[in-house]
Subunit: 345 residues, 2 copies
């Protein structure tokens, strides 16, 4: 099956934010996409077929772009070694780890649509999704081993463990309307922000930049990840379905506690709380419930409040960049933080 | 929850085979079990709880024992460094990778019982099983990174990718009675033998032994893994249920094509083939079908033939050891190959 063909389709880069990043980054991203296609090959045909379904489906590629941009900003590859491609290969590793978590998350949340396509899970079944996720995860580690940096291996293996912890924590809290905001933020710090942070940290590590820059970019990535996930949570209740390529209310139907729901629950009266308990905790839902949920979220400003939290994290991300010398790269990363909050899908 | 308590229960070492391996190995295994308990800790309480359910449930610990024994045989730790514990920590990594695949395999095969306990999947759900498997896999890589050997990382990341390929290949063939024996052997070479081979290879790598010894132990492990899996396939249709701690016929109920079934299908008449197609390919089974299947397997000597294949691989495993100097360790590894085929559970 044409993995390469699927890949020839245009990649949805977050164009608003990264347009400034020049032909260099576009070239790196094209190289990264080629690496992804090469590395997901296997004599077992179902692997590239299923992997193509999700890896090649496009997606925002925001995590590998962060690795590529942070490396370039830090001066990797340097003038003496223009052919250096470690950032490209490691950006592909980051995307593989992300894709593995998506495949495993499909088992988790039974989401019917992802990125506008039927989820791999729905098309190929739980079993294949889990196993192909395992393959991509293992392949990412093989590629890191080939790269040879124990620092990078440490960063990404720690991120992988933290992601799993965040996802398990989410399972434990997922239908609990008594979840404090702080606990919810802990969940997304693990399941989303850890990989954003790791993706950004690889750049200064490759360029052997001082510890302070490594810490600054890690902090940038972590806050950006928080902003990105909170915006996602808001978008799930507000996005234009066609633009997002998925149905509004996925989280709702899965009974997922996200920040908008926690806000609306906290601000609601007894009747509201009874509603949320029924639809989220008991997952007893009927046809008009989503519309009612959207009305409650609107009435209590829960979406705006969530976007407000996202904007705070985005500002913290931008602040973290202050340690780094001004450059067009730095400005573009700052713009990515802007984009994370203001995107419409 | 008392992970440590569960762990205080006796570990089922394959005593027949490894009794000769002395107090040294018993001590190493106790250290390995302690390492496992330490390393599966997480602030997210469900992780050690679920991990304990499967890791601490005992099991044969055959893979970590192979790492421990191959290291000792090769002279690690050496006389100058009696405190060396890399073999212990890496044996724990091997067990974590194995446990992760078991957890993910529970999603795959929906097996209701494993090791005499309700499967983690049945108790905690698919989602938690997948995510805790991911955590153990990531934690294994963190431990390998802390160990610092890129050689070991390469061996185990390759094994992990190969296991996933084997499992996906099994999905593709699992209800297909036209699967050639060679294809079936390819499946178990990936899903089982690859990790046995990697477990054995770590010993000579730690001891920096010559390439020939590394290859010999890898070949030993690979053939042992084949023997072990084929014996497992036979046991699924013949083991004493109480001894094995699982029900006879699990593979049958899941419609899994294993070698005994392939042999019986090939030897059967048209009526037999119709029966196998119905129960395995269509998975339409009624109450007396397992008894009929057992009778057909018996009539065509399919179990004995499978054990015969297992014995061939066990002999190949023993032959591979010839390169190594004779020692009590070598004799004990040879005995493990014997045990793999002759065990009753």
């Amino acid at each position: 099956m044409g993995a390469a063909v699927s890949f020839a389709e245009p990649i949805q880069v977050p164009a608003d934010a990264l347009a400034g990043l020049s032909a260099t980054l576009a070239g790196d991203l094209a190289d990264c996409n080629r690496t992804i296609v090469e590395q997901m090959q296997s004599p077992v045909a179902l692997i590239p077929r299923l992997a193509a379904h999700i890896v090649a489906a496009g997606g925002k590629r925001i995590r590998p772009l962060l690795t590529l941009a942070s490396a370039r900003m830090c001066g990797y590859p340097d003038a003496a070694d223009r052919s250096g491609d470690r950032h490209v290969r490691l950006a592909a590793c980051v995307e593989f780890i992300h894709t593995a978590t998506l495949l495993h998350d499909d088992v988790v949340d039974e989401s019917a649509l992802r990125r506008g396509l039927a989820s791999a899970n729905a098309v190929f079944g739980n079993q294949a999704s889990v196993l192909v996720g395992d393959f991509l995860f293992a392949r990412a580690f093989q590629m890191m081993v080939a790269d040879g940096s124990l620092r990078v291996l440490a960063i990404l293996s720690e991120a992988a463990a933290t992601i799993a912890e965040g996802e398990v924590l989410q399972l434990a809290t997922q239908s609990d309307l008594a979840t404090p905001e702080s606990r919810y933020l802990e969940v997304i710090d693990g399941k989303t922000a850890a990989l954003f942070a790791a993706a950004c940290r690889i750049g200064p590590v490759l360029a052997a930049r001082p510890e302070a820059e490594e810490e600054a970019l890690t902090l940038f990535g972590r806050n950006l990840g928080m902003a990105f996930q909170l915006a996602d949570d808001a978008l799930d209740y507000s996005a234009d379905q066609a633009a997002l390529g998925k149905t509004v209310g996925d989280d709702f139907r899965e009974g997922k506690v996200t920040l908008p729901v926690l806000f609306a629950f906290a601000a609601g009266d007894a009747a509201d709380r009874g509603f949320w308990r029924r639809v989220i905790e008991e997952r007893t839902q009927c046809e008009d419930d989503l519309a009612h949920a959207l009305a409650l979220l609107e009435r209590h400003g829960a979406i705006a409040a969530t976007i407000g939290r996202a904007a705070e994290f985005a500002r913290a991300a931008q602040d973290a960049l202050a340690v780094l010398p001004p450059s067009p790269w730095r400005a573009s990363l700052a713009a990515v933080a802007e984009f994370a909050v203001n995107r419409r899908s």
